[in-house]
Symmetry: C2
Subunit: 553 residues, 2 copies
């Protein structure tokens, strides 16, 4: 009797980030990637978002392994959270492990977890699955795709990918192997949709070299380059270019220093002799001898570049003649922050170079022509666009339809929608949990819609609190109402308004408490809310959150 | 003796929006545009941003006129606020007046203000200035550039512009006149920098026609098109296309209905017979006969498109087979909101078409080649890039340098930096106020950095309030501390945490109040802040705003 093969996306579908997927056959469950997502602008105060894996919680003992496709945060960042709940062997390439190890160490998890280092081309049996690690290109070394053989058929998972014929590090994707899999017969292809709206072919990493060379040739003073700290090949390009043009490179930003150290130890980064220096050593060099390679290419307020732009970096100030290069494109949602940093750098007198003014960055994700090539090589029966917002999944599906995949064989699903394969036939099955879990401080999952709604309201108009004490014996007011407010009006200039608000509350309460009929705290609170809300709206056209605190004594 | 000509940008330089400028010669001051800006993401709860015109406040009697280049909000939106403070004749083309009038009426200002309707090509003496209104192209009819003649020289101000050889409405920019001005001798060109990072030539409005035609030909069901309500030519294109393909158009969204009404009354919009219908009438038509033209192309949560996407629009639900067209590009900062709307529309089953998937929108602003053409035609001695963030001004300056304008004749300035011309020589002079004035509810300028910082903190971690009553006689605590919190933790699951917090506060206060030494309210407040802050951070790693309320009685 044939078992059902189930593919269960738990993250990364219908959103950007926190990629996670479960593949189920019989009793065995294989997990692919366990990433985090950075909060969107309306996830007020949330630090991090991790996948909702509550579907797996009563099935943890059936998990035979966790396969990591590459070492980016959106594929590994939630591992420490998952491994606190369950244990299973983790499979990843060496660089990904380098990045994972530090995280797990900080949580005391590195000793209890079973690691399997994989190499591109390896085939490994993991429970009911045979997993083959496929050479793909991406903006980090050793990113892999997966060929997953199950008794129900062969699944190909692209990981995050692009096709780079002239990568600056490592080899090209293994086109031949992908074609062989296609001949063998791919039941379903799951492929990265991030770049699905972009026509054409994503440029090769090596196209950046001449652009960097030109910048290095012309820059009169120091060069400050911001990029993703995990983009080791870009770091290598900067080091090479610096060595060629007689400059030294100093790294700024924790993750830049840390990732470079790990990549160097593992042999992914070759530092030309006498090229890497410390920030202190950079002080003694003339401006035309210096390159700073820094974090903060996404405009993150706490990272090195934003601090430099605000004049708040301990080691790096903008000097006249400095050239700043943003070797990155803003991830959707970060545009405003990146623009602010660029503007501030100009304000401080730097020359700023950024895409599209110059091709100082290329995407790590396939554009439409590469997505077509992957489809043409693997010739899948079913196609499941993964990794992306719904708009990207739909654009990718459009491409697949154009290549002749029948619409009914394309599954556009969101997290938690199970895809089942039985006797070679696929269908969309049940829906399991698959949403956001918010991490805020040390709390995982304790901040939900109610708290976020409050934060949103507070962000808009602040709050006003009225503290009132009632004499239990007499039923009258003790003292005067006290009004406390933040984020509503500028307090120094609003004492009249708040005094009048207190007077209105007092008046209304005295009226209500008059006579013998005693009132419940709840009814007094609702009275205060009404009186105060109406008065403040009439005066200011704002609607602060109003909290009455009524104490009886 | 020669007077000094002073150009004083009060808005729109170093930012996008709230364009405003003063030109001063002798005793006379001419104001150009009085726009608003929509708040950026870190302007918490602010409704609107208007220019800081405090520099003009003691000079209002010297203002000889206010010239409006076109009827977009970022050029007219703050007029009602300015005209409440001062009065001067307003000069604008008919459509701009149409849009201004409603605003002023709502403020009771339309009767007291002196209006001068201008036509393209007019030359008008306004105080010491002779102002000529130049034909330019932009994404609204009748946008003008300005040639301002002063005894100190000729200034050309581009307004918002592009060059469109085949506009769908009105004529092309008057290249000949611009060239004549160039021959006459332009002392300074002030030109729109919005598109300065974009190479090439901005496509013509008419390039959208075949794209719309293709969509109308193929759409199986209803078509919903979202665009800027002021983009009258786009509205016209939709009406024309609907008439050609046998569809009726219904308008949704207040500003869409209102602007179309005004434009139609003034003859800027020609409605083909039997094409415009009401939302009610649309109910009786089959899907392939309907076009909805709606507001919300920027993803604004309250506008029609976002409500449709959330399933919250009174008249329009997404049906299978619907095609939604976003005939707009996201303004920087709106990307995330627009993406969310697109994703939700897909989720509801619509086909969604948006740039860059199809050319359903073109910019209203000049790209680099058009900026070069304007420079080449007017051949100014000095160049002042206007309208844009610093990054845009710098990109525009780079273009001007490439055309041979000496760097020392290019002034990249921000709001409030005065540019002076004397005997044909320009320089950057003093700095006057020129920042943001926030409008929040009915308050203008009363919300500043302190309030915004509080809102930011509240948005991040919410607040916790401890209410404590001290017995003046005994110096001891009356009752127990009361803890009130919002936006910090989910209250239903956190009663233990907050109870323990109250206990800690009580303990600390009892310790502090022990013995005879009475403590000031202030010192008790600071104690509560410390104890509560430390406890809550230890437990949650969050830092809510903490407010102690200590009452003595």
């Amino acid at each position: 009797m044939s078992e059902i093969l189930r593919i269960i996306p738990l993250g990364g579908l219908g959103e950007v980030g926190k990629n996670m997927m479960a593949v189920e056959y019989g009793q065995d469950i294989l997990i692919i990637d366990v990433g985090v997502m950075f909060p969107e602008n309306d996830m007020w105060g949330v630090d991090l978002v991790i996948p909702d894996w509550s579907y797996l919680r009563d099935k943890f003992d059936r998990v035979v392994g966790i396969v990591i496709t590459h070492g980016h945060e959106d594929h590994i960042g939630a591992l420490p959270y998952l491994l606190q709940e369950m244990q299973a062997p983790v499979y990843a390439t060496r660089l990904a492990f380098g990045f994972i190890e530090g995280k797990l160490k900080r949580q005391g998890l590195s000793d209890v977890t079973e690691f399997h280092t994989i190499r591109i081309g390896d085939k490994t049996a993991i429970g009911a699955f045979e997993v083959e690690f496929l050479a793909m290109n991406h903006s980090i070394p050793d990113g892999v795709g997966l060929a997953i053989r199950t008794p129900a058929g062969l699944i190909v998972h692209s990981g995050d990918f692009k096709f780079d014929y002239t990568p600056t590090q490592g080899a090209s994707a293994d086109f031949g192997r992908l074609a062989e899999l296609g001949r063998e017969g791919v039941l379903a292809l799951l492929a990265d949709s991030t770049g699905a709206e972009r026509p054409g072919f994503t440029p090769s990493e090596s196209e950046i070299d001449p652009v960097f060379a030109e910048i290095f040739r012309q820059a009169p003073g120091r060069i400050i380059i911001a990029t993703f700290s995990s983009l080791i090949s870009r770091v290598q390009q900067v080091l090479n270019c610096a060595a060629r043009y007689g400059r030294k490179v100093a790294l700024a930003g924790y993750s830049m220093q840390e990732n470079a150290r790990i990549a160097r130890e593992l042999g992914y980064l070759q530092v030309p002799a006498n090229t890497l220096i410390s920030l202190e050593e950079a002080r003694n060099l003339s401006p035309d001898q210096i390159v700073f390679l820094v974090t903060g290419s996404q405009g993150e307020p706490g990272a090195a570049l934003a601090r430099i732009a605000r004049g708040r970096h301990r080691d790096i100030d903008i000097l006249p003649g400095d050239t700043v290069v943003l070797s990155a494109s803003p991830i959707p949602g970060n545009e405003e922050g990146v623009a602010r940093v660029i503007n501030r750098l100009f304000q401080r007198g730097a020359e700023v170079i950024y895409p599209p003014l110059a091709q100082v960055h290329v995407s790590g994700h396939a554009s439409q022509e590469e997505q077509k090539l992957l489809l043409a090589l693997t010739r899948p029966k079913y196609f499941i666009p993964i990794h992306g917002e719904l708009r990207h999944l739909h654009a990718h599906a459009r491409t697949a339809r154009a290549l002749g995949i029948p619409p009914e064989n394309i599954f556009i699903v969101e997290n938690g929608m199970v895809i089942e394969f039985e006797n070679g036939v696929g269908r969309v099955g049940e829906r399991v949990p698959g949403g956001y879990v918010f991490v805020d401080g040390s709390g995982v999952g304790d901040v939900g819609p109610a708290v976020l709604r409050d934060r949103e309201a507070l962000a808009r108009d602040g709050f006003v609190i009225a503290v009132v004490t009632i004499d239990q014996a007499s039923g009258g007011l003790i003292g005067h109402p006290e009004i406390v407010s933040r984020g509503f009006v500028y307090l120094r200039e609003s004492s009249d308004l708040l005094d009048e608000a207190a007077r209105r509350v007092e008046e209304a309460l005295e009226e209500a408490l008059k006579g013998s009929n005693s009132r419940s705290e709840r009814s007094l609170e609702s009275l205060i809310r009404d009186v105060l809300g109406r008065f403040l709206y009439d005066e200011t056209r704002r609607r602060p959150m109003i909290l009455p605190v009524v104490t009886s004594m």
